[in-house]
Symmetry: C2
DNA sequence: TAGAATACGCATAAATTTATGCGTAATTGT
DNA sequence: ACAATTACGCATAAATTTATGCGTATTCTA
């Protein structure tokens, strides 16, 4: 397992958000779980670009950090469901705000990406 | 200069935020510039943990992406000032919301970090 | 009874971001 | 004259995150 080497900065609230929620799919996962897509396979179908193992890892971290709970059912076919914790619920308004900001400014943000040579092969 | 190789996902607004504002100090920089710390040296003093060259790079990207403007004064000692653009102003409420969320949940978020073995040497 | 679906996992490679070594130049204050 | 300040920049190393090769196991379905 990877361990961080560089001390983290936690002077202000922004850093907590960054350290805990920076993962590629984390915010989307919390969002979709709040929309009642609870099962790994459902989430997988909803976010097909996310590799299963990457998604798993991000879900594990969300559980470890207390944003979601994982319920395992010992049915014949093992079944897993996720649900938001209280902390996850508190995160939701932020996600909606960010999402809304992104959609409202999609046009200009897209232009921003397009004029960045770093993105020229991928956007 | 580095160029991305993996296609970016822009299905939802969350991705724009991630692609454009993921940098280690970007949100803090926008925040402090909004607080009238306009000059590089002022920002440097406010965020001493940020290496000058890393900070410079992040500022350059913020300019390129249209969140801030850079004004260069051709005075005897060259002087530089940053200011928020309209897009930067629109970003500000998000930053404040995230910051507030982080501070309100600082205790529990800190615990989350502490129980993550990945952070055990650095938090 | 073969194939699809469900879930979990280790080791490593590749991509990406962040840090740092080493420099340049002009001006101000002492 | 000399240290301190302001600003800019290239090349690479190091840290961190994301992706992928290769596997295990069980159960339902056609």
């Amino acid at each position: 397992m990877y361990q961080k080497k560089t001390p983290v900065q936690l002077d202000c609230g922004l850093h907590f958000f960054k350290e805990l929620l920076n993962g590629k799919w984390k915010l989307m996962l919390v969002y979709y779980i709040s929309k009642n897509l609870k099962r790994p396979s459902e989430l997988q179908r909803k976010i097909p670009n996310a590799d299963r193992r990457v998604m798993d890892q991000q879900l594990q971290e969300l559980v470890l950090h207390g944003f979601i709970n994982k319920k395992t059912f010992n049915t014949k076919v093992p079944k897993v469901e996720y649900e938001l914790t209280e902390l996850g619920e508190k995160l939701l308004p932020l996600i909606l705000t960010i999402e809304q900001w992104g959609e409202e400014n999609r046009f200009v943000l897209n232009k921003a990406l397009e004029k960045d040579p770093k993105f020229e092969n991928v956007v």
